[in-house]
């Protein structure tokens, strides 16, 4: 009799163990933090206006070939991650055709993974470095943690 109860109890424990492991794995993915960089884009020049740490997922950085601007997350040892973006192009499409608008000035937002080994973000147009800024110095006065 005791053996049967022990078996049942063991079964319940195993089940909850597997369940919490699976749920934990899924939840972890969006329980990360990200750094949201608010930036000014003006005629090809960038400046960081604000940075906040948010709870949730950052988009995966996956460079698209040929895109005008790229950004690298770097530290002293080199590039850790890289992505691309088009802050100067707005695509518009409708029933009667569309157009492409050149955006000369805008506030843009880059959400990047919060990873402490990263020191800086570097933005390039081709090989031309447009901006280098430390963005992960969370705790500095310029960083507003929400």
């Amino acid at each position: 009799m005791i053996k049967k109860f022990l078996l049942v109890a063991l079964g319940i424990l195993v089940f909850f163990g597997v369940l919490s492991a699976v749920m934990g794995e899924e939840k972890d993915i969006c329980e990360d933090n990200y750094v949201l960089l608010k930036m000014s884009y003006l005629n090809g020049e960038f400046s960081v206006l604000d940075k906040t740490v948010g709870e949730g997922c950052a988009p995966k950085l996956n460079p698209v070939s040929g895109v005008e601007y790229s950004y690298d997350l770097v530290n002293g040892e080199g590039i850790l991650k890289e992505g691309t973006f088009h802050p100067g192009i707005l695509f518009i499409d409708g029933l009667e055709g569309g157009e492409v608008v050149e955006v000369e000035e805008n506030e843009i937002y880059l959400a990047v993974p919060y990873e402490k080994e990263v020191d800086d973000i570097e933005i390039y147009r081709g090989t031309d470095l447009k901006l280098k800024a430390g963005v992960f110095d969370v705790g500095a006065t310029s960083c507003r943690v929400k």
């Binding site: 949201l36 997922c57 996956n62 409708g94 492409v100």
Partner: protein
């Protein structure tokens, strides 16, 4: 059989069935103070390895979202790679602005709301008059839900693979490979037709989805460009 053992066995069964239903309920991530509830619409694997598209809409309905997903995956190049995609849904109102007769929903608030789900690409659906156009900016696609659902594939190709519009007039984004200055520049010999964003550029197919929303194909050259991006994930 011992009655106590039967009772415990039944309880265990209830826990297992309850747990199974809970795990398959579609709610992937619960909300916290900062994040919204994220629901999975199509889930093919760990978001770290997948291409994750999150829809944000209020009052549009999951049926309509599924129409957009079905439309995108009806294109052969995406259909063949459908297992690479996850689609998520956040039921939240998003503020959009009107620019050039199009909705543009790109904002800090949107970026924060979309962070509730894996969000490599963000799609906002809004119920607008049919004259209102859709847009794509950075990794955000803003769609008027009263336009043909194929507009999603067109906008997605802009942000996912840097494809240019193949109608005229438009502007060719730097690095776009589907519009070329001469027919010899095409890597595939599918065809060569005058007019691709600009009147003196050429496209490789007569009427791909990048030229007209009534098309049901990207055709070979565009498919190859998209495949390259798919393979990079």
């Amino acid at each position: 059989m011992d009655v106590k053992f039967v009772i415990v066995g039944v309880l265990l069964l209830v826990v297992i069935i309850g747990g199974f239903i809970f795990m398959n309920s579609g709610v992937l991530y619960s909300s916290s103070e900062e994040t919204e509830e994220c629901e999975r619409i199509v889930y093919n694997g760990n978001p770290v390895e997948q291409i994750n598209v999150v829809f944000l809409a209020k009052g549009i309905g999951k049926g309509k979202i599924n129409d957009y997903i079905d439309s995108l995956l009806s294109f052969e190049v995406f259909s063949k790679s459908k297992d690479q995609f996850n689609f998520f849904y956040v039921e939240e109102e998003v503020e959009c602005e009107m620019q050039y007769s199009a909705i543009l929903c790109y904002s800090k608030d949107l970026i924060k709301k979309s962070a509730s789900c894996p969000n490599d690409f963000v799609v906002v659906l809004k119920d607008e008059k049919r004259s209102v156009r859709s847009s794509a900016y950075m990794n955000v696609i803003s769609l008027n839900s009263n336009l043909p659902v194929s507009v999603f594939a067109h906008e997605f190709a802009h942000v996912f693979a840097n494809l240019a519009d193949e109608y005229v007039p438009a502007k060719i984004p730097r690095g776009a490979e589907n519009c070329q200055k001469s027919c010899e520049d095409f890597s595939v010999g599918e065809g060569c037709f005058e007019g691709c964003s600009e009147s003196d550029f050429f496209r490789s197919s007569e009427s791909s989805i990048m030229r007209t929303l009534s098309s049901n194909s990207f055709y070979e050259l565009n498919e190859n460009i998209i495949k390259e991006e798919l393979e990079s994930y």
